[in-house]
Subunit: 394 residues, 2 copies
């Protein structure tokens, strides 16, 4: 059978993810991996999961194993609605859609908004799997520089002239850089959205994981119900990715359209996972877990920053994230981090080359390091291995 000629034209835009291939390699036990975006498994709430599952199967087993509404389990939607309601704006159940991970939220948003040729503003660099999700729609990515202060809002004006369908932003501890858009930048961005009648997708997987500085209001909160912000979140980083539970908070009209798209995509998200998760969060699991996660991840971030300081060459620089799971290293312009990766894997340490995250040219001399998945001593050792690889290449 000749398959190639049978595939849809959009499949030409589907590319293998290097991260994904790396994840396979990094499963080897002697490998130190800074590659994935994995939470620390030793901090998973196993005992709470056990109790919650027991409770759900005993009390609501029939509902938890049956087909459910596409929108999600009502109690969980209400819990999220309450959590995102502020003095200024009441979020209702009808504003919440539960998705199969935040990735599905991004996919569904692409499905209902993006036509071929549409322009989309993205931070450069940005979340790799957003590019994979939206590229097959044939969109034009308009990259805006993202630096130590997050998205460079001052550079947006000429891009808005191209009438982008959506703006995509990870304002807190951005993936891959770990950098954050300040309050002033957020207000400026919202003002630009209003002036240009545009909409932003605010992707906030890491917002709860702040290790220093003050929590900043979401774009969603600052928008005060104007509807210019489609807010995407997930339990993957705060509870467990294996449950595949994310959400969108948006105006009802948008949720309704997302629901239609989700019906075709997977009917609904696992009712079992939703019920088990709801049982945990309604008992206050997040309030108990977040301090533990913040303490552990802060220690890991600090270990990585110290190790870089100690081992990395003077002509390298890196971001200093106030939260999240990643930081980004800039090596001298002549270093190709794709080449470096091959050497690094020989030294049993993995990372993701920065070029992957770029919608436009650039980033060939950068690399993303994850610090949440390894304890401090392993981080120290991994950075030493990486340094050896850097030395060999340069």
């Amino acid at each position: 059978m000749k398959w190639k000629s049978r595939f849809a034209s959009r499949t030409k835009q589907m590319r293998r993810s290097t991260i994904r291939e790396l994840l396979k390699l990094t499963a080897r036990p002697d490998m130190i991996s800074f590659a994935g975006g994995l939470p620390a498994p030793e901090l998973f709430p196993l005992e709470q999961m056990r109790r919650a599952t027991e409770c759900v199967l005993t009390q609501r087993g029939h509902a938890a194993l049956q087909y459910g509404e596409t929108e999600g389990v009502a109690e969980l939607r209400d819990w999220l609605a309450a959590r995102f309601s502020t003095k200024g704006i009441a979020v209702e159940r009808a504003n919440v859609l539960i998705t199969t991970g935040a990735q599905q939220a991004l996919d569904l948003i692409g499905r209902i908004f993006l036509d071929e040729g549409d322009a989309v503003i993205v931070e450069n660099p940005t979340y790799l799997a957003l590019l994979s999700a939206w590229r097959p729609w044939g969109v034009r990515f308009l990259p805006v520089i993202s630096d130590a202060s997050g998205m460079c809002v001052n550079e947006l004006d000429p891009l808005f002239a191209q009438r982008p369908k959506l703006v995509y932003s990870v304002p807190n501890f951005q993936n891959p850089q770990g950098t954050t858009l300040g309050l002033e930048g957020r207000l400026r961005l919202l003002k630009l959205l209003r002036e240009n009648d545009a909409v932003v997708v605010e992707d906030d997987p890491y917002g709860e994981l702040r290790y220093e500085g003050e929590f900043l209001p979401h774009l969603f909160e600052l928008d005060r119900g104007e509807g210019r912000v489609l807010h995407v979140g997930t339990f993957s980083k705060t509870i467990a990715p294996g449950l595949r539970l994310g959400w969108v908070i948006a105006p009802e009209e948008v949720i309704e359209k997302l629901v239609l798209a989700k019906q075709g995509a997977d009917l609904h998200t696992s009712t079992f996972c939703q019920h088990v998760l709801y049982e945990m969060v309604r008992e206050g699991l997040l309030e108990k877990r977040l301090p533990l996660l913040r303490e552990a991840y802060q220690e890991r971030r600090d270990a990585m920053l110290s190790a870089l300081e100690e081992w990395f060459p003077r002509d390298a620089s890196w971001t200093r994230p106030e939260g999240g799971m990643f930081l980004m290293v800039n090596l001298p312009a002549n270093v190709d981090t794709a080449e470096l990766l091959k050497l690094a894997l020989q030294h049993k340490v993995a990372f993701v080359p920065g070029e992957e995250f770029h919608a436009a040219e650039g980033g060939r001399n950068t690399l993303r390091l994850n610090f949440s998945n390894s304890p401090p001593a392993v981080i120290e050792q991994g950075i030493q291995r990486l340094k050896t690889a850097v030395d060999e290449l340069t």
Copy 2:
């Protein structure tokens, strides 16, 4: 905010599903619902789920709550590969993709194969959510009559002349009619696929639920590894829909492309659900459950057939499925079952009007009845209620 003008053009092809809206109404406790395709919740394996979850969290908790490979959990893929291997053909792990329910399998197949304007042969009537999943791609559905003997294979020739990208078929106990394509029809279909260099998507959610007659080989098995059959299956009808676990078995080249599409869609299916399910099936849960399900559902089917015989007018007819969850009733040509539904809901009984399942005109005088979700006494009562509504309308 004016949203309508912002939505992608494909959203015009997204329609609200009547079934889904009905499911909301039918949640009322005094309603007898023959509408959904729901398995019997009292037969869910709650105790086995409890034990399996306990075991998974104790022994493999870190893997079960972590991110996983897009392809699915290796042990579950191997289990499926072994199950679908026959003397003639060895199915390998690389031929298996785990999906978020079979619905996602259909969605992903649409994504990688269907371009705007492509022709797709579907049984008429056919599975409603297949139409919703593929309609937004702008495909042309070429309906082929499906009757008491399943897809009318003899009618396919002129349709193949339009060079369809895919053929979609539910050969066993088809949704919505409950009818089955015989062995001769299957062989004929495969011959036509070969002659016309075409590919069939074999959707088989109900195949294990046969209550009389002999099990027939899958199209996948009859194809003997030629690669003309993409086989889609699910644990939703045999274990529990709330886990959202389905699969595709296909040539490796197709699986690879589906994996790329799935990366963008939801990264991977819940590792927690996959591990819990694998723990159950590897201990032989299906072998224990299937006889129980078959016995219970056969009794329900028989109860529905008897009640129809007793209560329904002489000018009505219906299919007599040998398995599955549904049968279809034909009322006299002047009856509009959408109108009938309004009356029926007043009498507290629900069904799905047949027109919903038709890619082409027709079916306005038909209705789909589900018999798996109600015990025999309730079925008897529901059919009486429905008869009252029919009498009032005609």
